[in-house]
Amino acid sequence: MSGYRLPTGGRVDRAKSVSFSFDGQSYTGLAGDNLASALVANGVTLFGRSFKYHRPRGILGMGSEEPNALVTVDRGPGRTTPNLRAPSVPLHSGLVASSQNRFPSLKFDLGAVNDKLGAFFPAGFYNKTFMWPRSAWEKLYEPAIRQMAGLGDSPTSRDPDHYASTYAHCEVLVVGAGPAGIEAALAAAQSGDRVILVDEQEEIGGGALADPAQWAWLTDARAQLLALSNVQLLERTTAIAHLHQNFVVAVQRLTDHVAPAQAQGAREKLWRIRAARVVLAQGAIERPLVFDGNDVPGVMLASAGRSLALRFGVAPGHAVAVMATHDSGWHDALALAKAGVHIVAIIDVRDDVSSDLLDAAGAAGIAVHLNHAVIGVGGRHAVKSVTIAAAGSSAARTLSCDCLLMAGGWTPTVHLWSHAKGSLRWDADWAAYLPDSIDDNVIAVGGGAGAWNYGSGVAVSNLPSPKPVHQQKAFVDFQNDVKARDIRLAVQEGFRSIEHIKRYTTNGMATDQGKTSNINGLQIASEVLSKPVTAVGLTTFRPPYTPQTFGALMGHHKDALFQPLRRTVIDDWAVANGAVFENVAQWRRARYFPQGSETMDQAVARECLAVRERVGMFDASTLGKIEVVGPDAAEFLNRMYTNPWKSLEPGRCRYGLLLREDGFIVDDGVSARLAPDRFHLTTTTGGAARVLGMMEDYLQTEWSDLDVWLTSTTEQYAVIAVQGPLARAVIAPLVAGIDLSHEAFPHMAVREGTICGVPTRLFRVSFTGELGFEVNVAAEHGLAVWQAIHEAGQAHGIVPYGTETMHVLRAEKGYIIVGQDTDGTLTPDDAGLGWAVGKKKPDFVGKRSLARPDIVGAGRKQLVGLLTKDPQVVLEEGAQIVADPAQPVPMTMLGHVTSSYHSATLGRSIALAMLVDGRAKLGETIYVPMPGGTIAAEVTGMVFLDPKGSRLDA
């Protein structure tokens, strides 16, 4: 059946037919149609099933406000998009769309039994019903409810499309290209300023698209816009968010309007627009009326009927009734009649309508029923008739029709205004909130500002009916299936604020954010509460204005570009030598270098023994590095770190411990004094940016008088740690200009010279407990120097080792890793680092907090060592520690294991742990309850190997 396409009219191209399918059936539409207009032209009234009751639904609106006609569009593997609004789906040849939330078919849906049982699904139904047993929620109730109540299915395969994004700047951004927006853009362009005009529809024009009298103007205006080089016109682009200081986010749909085979380039583009001035011309959305049967397919907004007939050349029905409380419904009825649509009657609750409208209706031969209201709708999958009655009367009459248009007045679209924190004022004439004041440079124009005259109307919460509201299927929120009775029930149950009523009933909480339901819900709550609307409150609009793809928000940030992966200059060598990697902050680091079929434990054991017995090399390039330069450099470090720095001589290194103001450890590292006014700091890999930021913060805000400057040199230097008893022998042939002897170059010293002919800052430091050097060379030379050391080390049995081995080696020595052995609540004393706090220093960051009663009192967790009774058992990091494993659950937990490894050198497991009053428990046995059984361990000191540190002095 195709009798709904009007013989003439509309902006569709009647010469170009377009074939498409819906729910597997083939149809033909016209170029310029959208999915909704094409289906209505084909006589389709049924578009979907409602969310909760599975009621049959048609289209309500013809814009992005549409709550009912949600469809899935399938553009091939990985390219299905659910929950698209049919009126916003442009038609193209071969379009494949299907309805949602129905089983097994749209016309015969088993879930519709919910509608018969509707009396048992009141507001708060889920909260009230599915409470017990609690375990059934996850396994039974939620999956079942999700299956029944739902939107479309999420795609399950990878999206093959890509998405572009850009920033853009303009002096004037106009949102919405209806007549008001177009005029605003043209006016703004006169000054030569950069103007961006965005509009969400397939073509600009807004309301003018459904008003043929404005088409000539529209054509001319569009040509003017396109001719202006300072105007950027973005069609198919939805401004979804208006953020601080006129930062507006918009999504442009680039390819979905053409057949997949014709699609080229990015699917969508995210526009991040900063505008000096924003003009919001979002227009207004017509309000549905609330009455029994207002959701039967074929009942729609009068504006939708007008758009169908005048923009798309499609009659919304063969016999159309109009239920109005606003003059605009009369204008629409007259326009439809003029376009050749048979108007059965105009019904209006008012008994006083302007004589102009009455005369025009009379002249058009349209029956008029004033002081009447629709009290029922016949038909289930399509309107067959409407029943009307005079207000206060039960004398009903039935009008035969196949479409009912609702004209309930208009709600200005203030979404973006509200995003930008603009205030609103209630306007009684509009019976709606209008933009009031705003801090940013934003103005609202046109219908969205209430600056539009389409006649007058009355606000009615429920149409008068002899039937009690609780017996009516009178919907307020079509997408979330909220009825007028649900809002009344919520008020009866004690909810007063619209914020609570909204959450209890879910009114306005669907994907359409209540574009058609908020004001009606508010009117009903106001009436039941006997309070003015303004006393009931107003819910908040939040971005996005319409649902968006995740792809558009991600842009290029996916796959390889998801986020930067930082690699050192030695990374390629590590790859070539079979390294297994781990990520540390944004860096990836070689974790260990397995040989043959070695497991991690085997490789780490081999690497550890090599370092202890011979020599190993380690890529430490990721360590944070800061060059601190200026006459006040030592004074500055003295204030930042816990220990004294002024006395450090050039050429020497010192371990630095950095606290926050609360006295807790935030970072550590070994730093060198290169000259009286120049220090080379190191930080943890993950702490580099944080430490630099913290130091800059103090320097700029607290001690701006100091002559000292900080420069990040993390990426300037590649750092190669050479560690082990043979370390000196390995590098000696490569180094020039530095006396490497122990006497000339002791532990914790720094020298400058060359290695392999390039300048180096050579540190004699150790994070392994062995004789060790850290070779700093300019990054561009890092790989060559690494290779040279590796080659020179072959004669000494050198092995490359990774972070896992580094962790074991330092744990054997009780060296902590900030962030692993500390958790942001450890003081230096807690960590066994009390020696690193300068007792005589007048001040340093965090000093004052170290005197707090809770910091000096007993009962704090302290770092200690643990040795399991069974030396082969390796504790699990993070495992909780108790004193008495027989204590009933919940046991008293005394701390947790922070580091735990098998030590090949010691032939047994070792662990570090945070333990309440740990140092007072040395020698005691604690217990670690695990799923497989309780593990006993002895509390020990933190240093498991060479407690005197004699190996450092080799």
Binding site: T156, S157, H169, H556, A560, Q563, V629, W709, T711, A779
Partner: protein
């Protein structure tokens, strides 16, 4: 929830670990991207610009964002010198200045062509279109810090820290390809 069907997600075709610095320039759609050869870079800091200028023996730009003979004024007390490879500057020992060699810290690209500004705008929140030739600034490209220098109407220079360079190059190429 048991036995939810395992989604059919293909493994990533490329990951961040596959990104490398280019060995060849990139040219397409009127855009040309190229790696800048190694050069000397110095971070310069001082309260007293005159003292700093005297220390290094070079004139310094006065206005933040201006450039002069390869030196960019990045902040009220901060300059970045981009000099020929091998150039060195006196360190000004004992003076209230900071001269730090950061030659190897960064990698530079040139972006030339009529679409260069638009390409940078794909990831840079500044009003690049209105940036005058000769101006330079420290800013961001998406999440990566860059130093951006407009050298002419159609030519930009971008520096970023070394480890971010493969990502930045790939992101610019992706932007250039739409």
């Amino acid at each position: 929830m048991p036995d939810a069907a395992t989604p059919d997600i293909a493994p990533l075709a490329v990951t961040a670990a596959d990104l490398h610095l280019p060995t060849q320039p990139f040219s397409a759609a009127g855009l040309h991207l190229e790696l800048v050869p190694a050069q000397a870079r110095y971070s310069l800091r001082a309260r007293d610009a005159g003292l700093l200028a005297a220390t290094i023996g070079r004139a310094l730009p006065d206005r933040i964002g201006d450039t002069l003979d390869g030196v960019i004024k990045l902040g009220p007390d901060e300059w970045l010198a981009l000099l020929p490879a091998g150039a060195t500057l006196p360190l000004g020992e004992g003076l209230p200045v900071s001269v730090v060699d950061v030659s190897a810290r960064a990698v530079g690209f040139t972006i030339t062509g009529p679409g260069a500004a638009a390409l940078i705008a794909t990831g840079c929140p500044l009003d690049v279109e209105r940036m005058a030739p000769g101006r330079a600034t420290r800013t961001l490209f998406e999440t990566v810090e860059i130093v951006l220098w407009r050298q002419s109407e159609t030519a930009f220079r971008v520096d970023c820290w070394r480890s971010f360079a493969p990502w930045l190059w790939a992101a610019l190429v992706a932007g250039a390809q739409g």
